[in-house]
Amino acid sequence: MMCNEIWVIAEIRQGRLTRSTHQLLGAARKLADERNLQPAALLIGGEQVHAEELAQKIPLVLRIENSGLETYEAVRYAHALRQLIEKRGRPKVIMTAAGSSGVEFMPRVAMRCDSGYASYCVDLFWEGEEPACRRPVYGGKVYEELAISTVPAFFTVRPGVFPVPENLSETGRVETIPIDLPEDTGLRIIERKGISPGKKDLSEALCVVAGGRGMGTPENFKLLEKLAEVLDGAVGVSRAVVDAGWMPHDLQVGKSGKTVSPGLYIACGISGAIHHVLGMNTAKVVVAINKDPDALIFRNADYGLVGDALEVIPELIKAIKSKT
């Protein structure tokens, strides 16, 4: 059984719909318009306020309801999604953000539905009647384009690659769909701990201010936090900084850390080793600040400034704050 729909699975973090969710609503509407399909947002768990907020942006909201879905867990999510597909029919496309949960449960559902899955997509489009994606491979040294010939096509999309659509005003309909869940999946959450409390989420941020060994000492990263604050951005770090034990791994940008695609990336005291560049080369605008005029990072930047990041950052903050 099929249905002529495209689903975006909404993500809620700290009680709010994520920016990626809004970006994907735009992407889904565009894909749906091109093939005369119905775009819909899917809320797994979540609250009425989130359903209402989504209904202002998209004509149809499907809210999957079961008290076992209040906390995310891959097996339960996969189960819930599969049941919705059975009840409603197979949509053409199911997409969600390539965050830690998306890349965890989506491959499970694809496997269960005997359908194709592609992760970390940076673009979605139609290849004839088949949904297709563009995604970086080999750490972003090349891209590949894949079409999915089975239904539904499952995609996870890198945060930040689509713009947040403006001026959407819908009076969408909310449908609540109760589902059953297995009582015990074998997994129990015992505790949740913040690693970097109060820090902005790196993968969702519109601006990332990143520091490397050139920052000199762990204490100097406070300076980066100040710069991030005036730019409403998040702090990231290079692998060298994590390996030296200066900062936790969840802030690492690079091949063995996070891949970010912010509108603005400011690299401070980062040499630009390939490992790091592979984690940030999809940023829209890159600024590099480094003492070494031959640092590799300048080859991957739009704007370069040769200087000591520790001296330059306070001047940047001053200049940002000045009205002129």
Binding site: S100, F105, D114, L187, R192, E204, H249, I274, N281
Partner: protein
């Protein structure tokens, strides 16, 4: 405890990879065992330190390169290895590879399966979750810690979730994917490297597995490889310090970046 580790040989992250044609890549011949897979191997070895009776099997599916990944596993201290399939798997899509691995794992029946978070070539991060779904067992991705209290029945583990660590408790069987921090891969000793070079790597041909389910094939179709968008030449700030900071911010403001 029975542990299976799924590993893959991939180009080193510094290897040159270029688009040769829409359907073909030019890849420099510098291959290594995938970064996160070595962490998976080390995590298995750490469990064996606490539970010396544990049996670890490392499995790699694919063409001849898979043998090199398995030699690395032997060098790092794993005794049982299996090379699954042949070159035909190199072009297989993620679902089919997971299907082949899962069919083999059905026979081994491990308590714990460990894979790397994602492979350093296709970066799919899909094999682990797909294998778990096919075997109908729970899984946790991007695990950063594994409790040393693991016993025959359950294990506690930690995983990173956007700014948080979640601690979970799970029964076996379970599949986890290894994130950086789960274990610190060691440098193998020379003796083991020599042993690994001489080791017989047993192969299991695909026709020995029960692979009749045709639905598992051909879900993804590669249309083409493309060259990533190139960044324009860098604009260097020309003013001396401290005016160069103001110069930079002016550029960003003028172009609507901030």
């Amino acid at each position: 405890m029975k542990i299976a580790v799924l590993i893959k040989q991939v180009p080193d992250h510094e290897a040159l990879v270029r688009v040769k044609s829409e359907q073909e890549l030019d890849i420099e011949n510098r291959y290594v065992c995938s970064f996160f897979d070595e962490i998976a191997i080390e995590a298995a070895l750490n469990i064996r330190k606490n539970h010396p009776e544990s049996e670890i099997t490392a499995i790699s599916a694919g063409g001849k390169k898979a043998v090199d990944a398995l030699r690395r596993a032997v060098a790092l201290g794993i005794d049982q290895v299996e090379h699954l399939g042949d070159e035909s798997l190199e072009m297989a899509d993620n679902c089919y590879l997971a299907y082949v691995l899962a069919e083999r794992l059905k026979a081994i029946q491990p308590d714990l399966i460990i894979c790397g978070k994602q492979a350093g070539d296709d970066d799919f991060a899909a094999t682990g979750p797909m294998v778990a779904e096919y075997l109908n067992i729970p899984h946790v991705s991007a695990v950063v810690s594994l409790g040393s209290d693991a016993d025959a029945n359950q294990v506690t583990l930690g995983r990173e979730v956007e700014g948080e660590i979640w601690y979970l408790e799970s029964n076996f069987p379970l599949l986890i994917t290894a994130e950086k921090g789960l274990a610190e891969p060691h440098v193998p000793v020379v003796m083991r490297v020599m042993k690994a070079m001489r080791a017989q790597i047993p192969g299991i041909p695909l026709n020995e597995l029960d692979l009749k389910d045709k639905k598992q094939q051909g879900r993804l179709r590669r249309l083409r490889y493309t060259v990533p968008p190139e960044r324009a030449d860098v604009a260097m700030m020309r003013e001396p310090y401290p005016q160069n900071a103001a110069e930079l911010i002016e550029h960003l403001k003028k172009n609507g970046v901030i």
